[in-house]
């Protein structure tokens, strides 16, 4: 699943709604006026450097921290005043596992199932289901402290799913996993979103978020810097698009480059790659004018096989928002001008 193919299960019903959420510790502002909405069945990737306020926002949502001002609601339930209901609506997986000594995986899940008041028979069935979903069945008799990190992450996710919550809040679920385990975890999260769960995921591994998230929110210093799809954020970062024109013959590369130089703004960056038979250029022109460029190429006998926009990497976007001194000014205005998914 990629952002190019939004899941059909995503709806327009807002499930997670944060409005002007602020958290202050004395004079230090950990979270500054955060406003965003996440719809049912969507996956939101929350990214930002250490100390950006991601965990603070998450902890407010699960009722572990009280905001200084603003509101946080999940499925219409206030996270501050009705934390008892929130606990049943949300499955929270912190960045640390929360292990108990001498406890087997099945006992661990049984315990957390019991804390949610699930009746023994239903609990046994549910444990079987979540173990099957998370692929943890084979480790049911292993002691939780003896599990590898990847296994613990899976058991943690199984625990989160026990009470069948509507919203899953996962803090760094792929952190420390090997590539194979990361792929498996990614597939698992997509599978859960397909089942109608709404997911809020934080991660430092940005390519993972690019692959699974419908929306991405970038935070620095407690503020939301950008919010939208990966493409929207990428566009906001560069203000210019990178376009690639793939040609049939490498011989036509120089001619095509000259045509493009004349068609777009003067001094724009146009790169010739004869070995690949590609001309790559950056422009701030809108989509309607880019059609004109393609039309001129075809008119002048250039045989074009592909004419497409190259997506700005999320990593690139992240770096530009978190390092404003590098020339790209971080803007407090979210991508697309709105913070609603």
């Amino acid at each position: 699943m990629t952002t190019d193919q939004p899941r059909k299960t995503a709806t327009d019903i807002p499930v997670v709604v944060l409005e002007h959420l602020t958290k202050q510790y004395g004079s230090f502002t950990a979270l500054n006026d955060l406003t965003l909405t996440l719809n049912a069945g969507q996956i939101l990737g929350l990214i930002g450097p250490n100390g950006a306020g991601k965990t603070t926002a998450i902890k407010i949502l699960v009722g572990l921290i009280r905001p200084t001002s603003g509101t946080a609601k999940i499925d219409g339930v206030d996270c501050v005043s009705d934390s008892a209901r929130i606990k049943r609506l949300v499955g929270y997986m912190p960045d640390t596992f929360g292990s108990y000594d001498n406890m087997r995986v099945r006992e661990y899940l049984d315990f957390f199932g019991a804390t949610f008041g699930i009746a023994p028979r239903a609990r046994a069935k549910r444990i079987g289901e979540v173990m099957e979903t998370t692929g943890t069945e084979y480790m049911k008799d292993r002691f939780v402290e003896s599990l590898s990190h990847g296994m613990q992450q899976r058991v943690g996710l199984a625990r989160t799913l026990l009470h069948d919550p509507k919203v899953l809040i996962l803090d760094e679920p792929v952190n420390g996993l090997d590539p194979q385990a990361r792929i498996e975890m990614r597939d698992l999260l997509i599978q859960l979103a397909k089942r109608g769960k709404t997911l809020l995921v934080t991660s430092h591994i940005l390519p993972e978020l690019t692959r699974i998230c419908d929306r991405v929110a970038i935070m620095t210093h407690g503020k939301l810097r950008a919010f939208g799809t990966v493409e929207e954020i990428g566009r906001q970062v560069s203000q210019q698009r990178t376009i690639e024109s793939h040609l049939v013959s490498a011989d036509q590369v120089s001619i095509a480059a000259n045509i493009i130089r004349q068609a777009i703004e003067p001094g724009a960056d146009v790169v010739e790659a004869p070995a690949e038979a590609i001309v790559r250029f950056r422009t701030a022109r809108p989509e309607s004018e880019l059609g004109e460029v393609l039309a001129q190429l075809i008119q002048k006998g250039i045989r074009v096989t592909q004419f497409r926009e190259v997506q700005t990497d999320l990593e690139e976007a992240f770096m530009s928002f978190t390092r404003p001194q590098q020339g790209i000014v971080a803007t407090p205005v979210p991508a697309g001008g709105q913070t609603h998914a």
């Binding site: 009722g63 606990k87 912190p94 929360g98 292990s99 019991a114 008799d141």
Partner: protein
């Protein structure tokens, strides 16, 4: 290279604020001990009895302080490095196991040395009061203290090499120290003056205790001697046995400091239910309640926290408790039978005393280890954060946790009931005494549980919580006994009675009319103290639980 190791260890230990507070507290305590008996007028007793009385108290106080404070440092030293991953780094350096071991040992001994050096001004004050010999009194007392510090430091390090968790290392080391220093006095007390192998075993065990060596030095030979005088050179025997134990434990510890300490396969989670029928049969026979059986789902009626606490414990699992209870029950019945059959001429009071001591020792040893980490272990393992996201209320969580301590304690208390029943059958007049003793023990169990839980809740780390809980409980149990040791001089009957009225052990022993305690009337003052103490501890525990569980 050794210097670097010692420097690092000492810097880690000494840079804590608590260490500063501890040192200031100790200096104040030693000063108070001397100030109590410092001459207030111009007249001086030429016999020097006053300074000898102070020095008796001072010696025991110093030994008790050392045994309460010191074990936590060697116990956590290696296992903490193992958990943090720095032991692997150390073993990868050219230091070698001997240097690592001696570096750690030197640091712990340096810390003990600091404690002893801080006591020197108070010891000098005693010496200045006259009546004390520099070599025969002061130097020998310090010899006992140094040898005890060395022995327990080495044993703590050995335990640390075997432990997989910091708190279990602390528990085991305190248990070992308590066993070697106090429990070894028991057999000698009951079998002295008799002949036979039991008396000989009692004699050997007696020489392992630093308290015995201290008694022989400070002239408090009557504490456990029933008027008999032993001619054994206890200081020499204690020094030799301690040095032998230290050398063996050092070699043993060093032999553990290599790759094998990490060379352990992860548990594959073997389950008895998947084994052959014969294996299942033998496991059931051996364990009674097999810890490797596949557990059933938590019942709807049970508190999940209680069940979780039981499942998380290694030592607290049911098969261990059943064994403990069985041993207690058999011992108490055996003792009662032996007295009735005329094997021992001890009298019902003494038998009752043994049973009380046995039970109190179990309570003092087990209760802090069960209840000190109720909150801190959750906070340390990050389980508390997960519990906070479940719909369970704070009161249900706390009650579930307390219940997981109450049930084993009830089993321990019930273990000696058959012995008491037989005792009442032999001597029906003792019914009231036995009832009162049982109330005393139950009150002590509740108090020990709540005190340990409350003290432990103030710490984030289980090891610190366990050490502090042991320290608090043993202080209440041991410090009044120091006053009792000076019951004829320097302290009068009223002072001793007031001091003992806070001590649950003394209260139970006075009720059962144990020789040495029969003259003190400690009930109901002790019950009041335990009641108020328990309620205060419960309030602290609830307040602390509320504090850590409310949203920040």
């Amino acid at each position: 290279m050794l210097k670097a190791m010692v420097k690092r260890e000492l810097t880690t230990l000494m840079r804590r604020r608590r260490m500063m507070a501890l040192q200031c507290g100790l200096v104040a305590l030693f000063a108070v001990l001397v100030a109590i008996r410092w001459p207030t007028d111009a007249r001086m007793a030429l016999t020097g009895s006053r300074s000898q009385q102070v020095f008796q108290l001072f010696g025991y106080g110093l030994l008790a302080t050392l045994l309460l404070i010191m074990p936590v440092f060697p116990a956590t030293s290696i296992v903490r490095e193992k958990k943090q991953g720095t032991l692997a780094l150390l073993l990868n350096t050219p230091l070698g196991p001997w240097r690592i071991f001696f570096g750690k040992l030197t640091a712990v001994l340096a810390l003990s040395g600091i404690i002893l050096v801080m006591s020197l001004p108070a010891a000098s004050a005693c010496y200045a009061m006259g009546g004390l010999s520099l070599y025969d009194d002061i130097a020998k007392v310090y010899q006992v203290l140094i040898v005890a510090a060395l022995e327990y430091a080495v044993l703590g390090l050995l335990v640390s090499t075997y432990s997989n968790s910091i708190d279990s290392a602390v528990r085991l080391t305190y248990g070992l120290v308590l066993g070697l220093s106090v429990m070894t006095l028991g057999p000698h007390y009951f079998f002295q003056g008799t002949k036979g192998y039991l008396a000989e075993i009692g004699d050997v065990l007696y020489s392992l205790s630093p308290f015995a060596a201290m008694m022989s030095l400070t002239g408090v030979g009557d504490v456990g001697s029933k008027g008999l005088i032993t001619k054994t050179e206890l200081l020499g025997r204690f020094t030799v046995t301690s040095l032998i134990v230290s050398v063996i434990a050092s070699i043993w510890s060093v032999s553990r400091l290599n790759h094998t300490i990490f060379d352990q396969a992860r548990s594959q989670g073997t389950i008895s239910d998947d084994q052959t029928q014969s294996v299942r049969f033998f496991r059931r026979l051996f364990f009674l309640v097999d810890p490797q059986r596949r557990s059933s789902n938590i019942s709807s009626f049970a508190n999940p926290i209680t069940v979780k606490e039981f499942r998380c414990r290694r030592f607290g699992r049911l098969h261990w408790l059943l064994r403990l209870v069985a041993i207690c029950a058999v011992l108490s019945l055996g003792l009662t039978y032996a007295t009735t059959a005329g094997t021992f001429d001890w009298g019902v009071e003494t038998i009752g005393g043994i049973m009380v001591v046995m039970q109190v020792a179990l309570l003092a040893l087990i209760t802090p280890s069960l209840s000190a980490g109720l909150l801190s272990s959750e906070r340390e393992s990050r389980g508390w954060q997960l519990l906070q996201t479940t719909p369970m209320s704070i009161t249900r969580i706390v009650w579930g946790k307390l219940l997981s301590v109450i049930l084993p304690l009830m089993l321990i208390l019930c273990a000696t009931l058959p012995g008491y029943v037989v005792m009442v059958y032999i001597e029906p007049g003792m019914k009231l005494q036995v009832e009162r003793v049982i109330i005393c023990l139950a009150a002590m169990a509740v108090f020990a549980m709540l005190l340990s839980a409350a003290v432990g809740s103030l710490f984030k780390r289980t090891a610190a919580a366990t050490a502090a809980a042991y320290g608090a409980l043993l202080s209440i149990c041991a410090l009044p006994l120091l006053v009792w040791l000076g019951r004829d001089a320097p302290f009068g009957h009223k002072t001793v009675e007031a001091a003992l009225s806070v001590n649950p052990i003394a209260a139970a022993l006075s009720v059962i009319r144990m020789p040495g305690f029969q003259d003190y009337s400690l009930i109901p003052a002790n019950w009041w103290f335990l009641g108020i103490g328990s309620i205060t501890s419960l309030l602290i525990l609830l307040a602390q639980t509320y504090r850590i569980s409310r949203p920040q």
